[in-house]
Amino acid sequence: MSTSAESIEREEKLQGVGCSRKRKEDPRFIQGKGNYVDDIKMPGMLCAEIVRSPYAHARIISIDKTEALALPGVHAVLTADDLKPLDLHWMPTLAGDVQAVLADEKVVFQMQEVAVVIANDRYIAADAVQLVKVEYEPLPALVDPHKSMDSDAPVIREDLIGKMDGAHSKRLHDNHIFTWDVGDKESTDQAFEDAEVTVKENMFYHRVHPCPLETCGCLASFDKIEGKLTAYVTSQAPHVVRTVVSMLSGIPESKVRIISPDIGGGFGNKVPIYPGYVTAMVASIVLGRPVKWVESRIENLTTTGFARDWHMEGELAADNEGRIKALRVNVLADHGAFDACADPSKFPAGMFHICTGSYDIPNAYARVDGVYTNKAPGGVAYRCSFRVTEAVYVVERMVDVLAQKLGMDKAEIRLKNFVKPEQFPYPTALGANLDSGDYHTALNKVLDAVDYKELRKEQEEKRANGELMGIGIVTFTEIVGAGPSKSCDILGVGMFDSAEIRVHPTGSALARMGTITQGQAHQTTYAQIIATELGIPSEEIQIEEGDTDTAPYGLGTYGSRTTPVGAAATAVAARKIKAKAAKIAAHLLEVSDDDLEWDVDRFKVKGVPGQEKTMKDIAWAAYNNLPEGMEPGLEAVDYYDPPEYTYPFGAYLCVVDIDKYTGVTKVRRFYALDDCGTRINPMVIEGQIHGGLTEGYAVAMGQELSFDPEGNIEGNSLMDYFLPTAVETPHWETDYTVTPSPHHPLGAKGVAESPHVGSIPTFTAAVVDAFAHLDVTHMNMPHSAYRVWQKCHELGLDKAK
């Protein structure tokens, strides 16, 4: 390949992979021309508002709609009884369970959907909601998951009584959902028995919520004559919604059109299908008019898509030198009242098997038990692949606990146990197959950048002065890109993704994907991939996503799967086009394929200067001058089924200073090094990392949805729920190494969730490290000033003046 100045210049003009191309999405957004679900209006549109339960657990005695229906402007009030004849009062969840669309005889969590009011506008609907009179008989609420399997525990799901064959395993109790385990229990137990050192820690990964700035909503429009349902939905997976809606309603999938327009952030919250969507669709079908439902922030935080709520017990076995011999993890997972987790069907605990982390651990065993409680359903992947945040948290915490027990440095113990570069691809004890990595280089680069030794020295001095300074280190490995359809499916549909590229006669292109952007800049970055592959300038490539009538079937965007799966599909589709283009070029140049070489945006005849055909020439020829027997056109579709997951990794370091009199923790420094393989758009990557770190900071330092013993949710508005402003948010320092994935067509691994997954344990590690000299090994999140002060107070630190 030529590397002349001229060709470099041509390459730069393409704005392909590796350049920080400015975003194509921005011009619309900065002019206020975004098009989010609530921005869309249709003629004759009605508004839906949901009547919700004040109780966490109660029997519904009666529902009286009379007064509400009498209010002028109210068109309908629907309850479970109204949906029953259509068999739409329950719907399947992504996790193999069912969920009540509208409460059927019983409410099982606070603010559960009981009825839906359809009115002319949202003002009338809001008035009507409080006129629907619901009589309840309160039942005892089950809030503590540790009591879910007690013999006298109230049964939450009466619809499941006696059905002990769960979706994932035998159920051991009416409130039990599944047991899932992985690894060799026997060898692991043996390793613990034989170990020189063992450590154990209980940790609670609290209930949080992704809380995108746009809440969830749906505008459904059913055309009775055509029999077609069109719905604008805040969905990270519009095709999945289409399939589920078709299955539920019996409308042929070809007559269901789901459109994910602009989405105001998803972070996992917009993966599941919610009762609000279904009721809007049903109402539209019943009334024959467009119906819009948009939830309030309080409804969003209270009822749709929470994350985590895992009670984890971690254990490590090691020798006296700190070499890890075994990992054992037991988890109690609180799924709320319906199992509505967003996991691939066969993975009730998601990708938790990545919990051996970046370490060469010969023996491991993990077990997760899911249980029901009287809380809202969910268990979504909040800016992470399914349960990866939990997995990284437990192993990173445990490595620190082990280091403290052994009196070892927390960086040293990691360097000692890392999987070595030459061990890749590395099969872990729990069945992951790490594709590539260079963990030593990453960590050492970070330690050098922050002058780690100096920091530890400073910490020594501070401790001598009675000051609290903590240094947290995390070296995480993620598993993303779900996933290979041999194991990954959602409701039976394999987790491939797709791209369809059409090159127009004049050489520009249109591409459509099965994914959907929620701020990740797909319109910008997909074009870069095609630009590099096909030599068409990014500016001339139009990217479209989110409309199921036009885009090829895909599983959507979450769990950092767009780059590992969607971008791979895009590259492969482009390569199919390029292969055809080569044949056309050979035909035009009257040489054989083998005589050609690719140079940025054209095929050249090897060794014959001037003999070349640009992609523009080829595109034109594809419509009028083809080799004999070749079909016209220049397009390709690829459904990419990844052979493997990808495994991004990183090394993060955080320095905190704690005010021991108030508990206020100040992040002095946060250094994040990420390795996501090939970097498609460094600017976008850095933006994703800033965002992920900020979300991680929020989770670790303040976000929490808690419940009182009666099942009342606490802190479910932005008064309490912690979304940091620019003032609270620390300054981020970013860095990178590049270790391409060997099996991805571009070598790229995915990045958006790494900073969330990686930063959360880093904050905990830093806070705990501040107290490490006082034999503190773990503190549960969130590390609010209140919580941290309690530790200071317990240790008597706030007294010393």
Partner: protein, 161 residues
């Protein structure tokens, strides 16, 4: 309930609209006047996605009644660009990757627009405080700060030039 006639200047145009007294300004803007740039993110005046400019100050239009805007001069993100092209804050957000999902952006832009008139030459700290009534879930604010700095420099240069 009887509706009230409300008049105001919106993005330099005179607007007359009939509203219920309880109607929130954000709903009037978005639903009656179809200016959907300003968004609703929290409804409790925490997130700032509904920020508009009213008589020369930044306000959260989810916590103001439309009737309260009677006689006022309003500006929304749709009125930010002029015949000369984009406003410097709009350019800044594009140049410095100050937005991702775009949902908070109109509020951020309107606050930045006013903030830079209150403080034309701010420090990073002052920008962070000045924008503390606006939440963003995507960017982590670092590039938003840069965007505002970009706009400040651009506006300063314009002033001097």
């Amino acid at each position: 309930m009887k509706k009230t006639a409300v008049s105001f200047t919106l993005n330099n145009e005179q607007v007359d609209v009939l509203v219920e007294p309880r109607e929130l300004l954000i709903h009037t803007l978005r639903e009656k006047l179809s200016l959907t740039g300003s968004h609703i993110g929290c409804e409790t005046s925490h997130c700032g996605a509904c920020t508009v400019d009213m008589d020369g100050i930044s306000v959260k239009s989810c916590t103001i009644l439309a009737v309260q805007a009677n006689g006022s001069e309003l500006m929304t993100v749709e009125g930010l660009a002029s015949d000369d092209g984009l406003h410097a804050v709009q350019e800044g957000f594009m140049q410095e990757h100050g937005l991702q999902c775009g949902f908070c952006t109109p509020g951020m832009l309107m606050r930045s627009y006013r903030f830079l008139q209150e403080n034309p030459n701010p420090t990073e700290e002052e920008i962070r405080v000045g924008l503390s009534g606006n939440l963003c879930r995507c960017t982590g604010y670092q590039n938003i700060v840069k965007s505002v700095q970009y706009a400040a420099e651009k506006l300063q240069a314009k002033e001097e030039g």
